[in-house]
């Protein structure tokens, strides 16, 4: 069970979690709502960036509070996500360009 967490940590964490959840959800809604792949790929990166960021910060806050020391290894996740996301994005985009007629500018 969750030990007591001071409010000055719990409050921002709560906010971050809610924002992160919403951002990710909105991003995924874009997957369904936006008309073509080239637009959908943008909405997904919402969850990829700020959504992840919010949850990570929240997690860091709470973990630090619980462990009574700064817990920063969540940063690694940020690092890895930022690092690797371009690979998929670039190649996938190229694939889409080759496989479809891009919409007119």
């Amino acid at each position: 069970m969750m030990p007591d967490i001071p409010a000055w940590i719990a409050l921002p964490a709560t906010l971050l979690l809610i924002v992160g959840g919403l951002l990710t959800l909105v991003g995924s809604i874009g997957l369904l709502r936006l008309p073509n792949f080239f637009m959908r790929i943008h909405s997904v990166s919402m969850g990829n960036t700020l959504g992840v960021g919010c949850v990570l910060v929240a997690s860091m806050l709470i973990a630090s509070a619980v462990a009574q020391r700064p817990v920063i290894h969540e940063l690694l996740i940020t690092l890895f996500v930022v690092f690797t996301a371009p690979i998929t994005a670039i190649v996938l985009m190229q694939a889409a360009i080759r496989r479809t007629k891009p919409p007119k500018q």
Partner: protein, 93 residues
């Protein structure tokens, strides 16, 4: 205060689950292969976020490794799918 935090965890978890459902729908629907790959990528990210939430929910560190692994190598699956779509094979000569 914990109750609020707990509720927000619960809420976020629901959000991610719904996001996963959206992604799954997108994956079923397609219509193109790249859409499905994108959906898979989204699922991976949401899975990772769900794991991070476990950490908050149960204040344990044990799920961090899994999340980190997804962050580091979750891309390999979708990237190789993308490569396959892009050039017809995953690994070029």
């Amino acid at each position: 205060m914990n109750a609020v935090l707990h509720a927000s965890v619960w809420f976020a978890q629901l959000c991610f689950a719904l996001a996963m459902v959206n992604a799954a729908i997108a994956m079923m629907r397609g219509p193109t292969a790249q859409d499905r790959v994108l959906a898979l990528d989204t699922l991976y990210i949401n899975g990772m976020l769900t794991l991070l939430l476990f950490g908050v929910r149960w204040t344990s560190f044990v799920h961090f490794e899994v999340a980190m692994l997804i962050a580091l190598f979750g891309f390999v699956g979708s990237a190789s799918l993308a490569m396959f779509l892009y050039r017809g094979e995953v690994i070029e000569p």
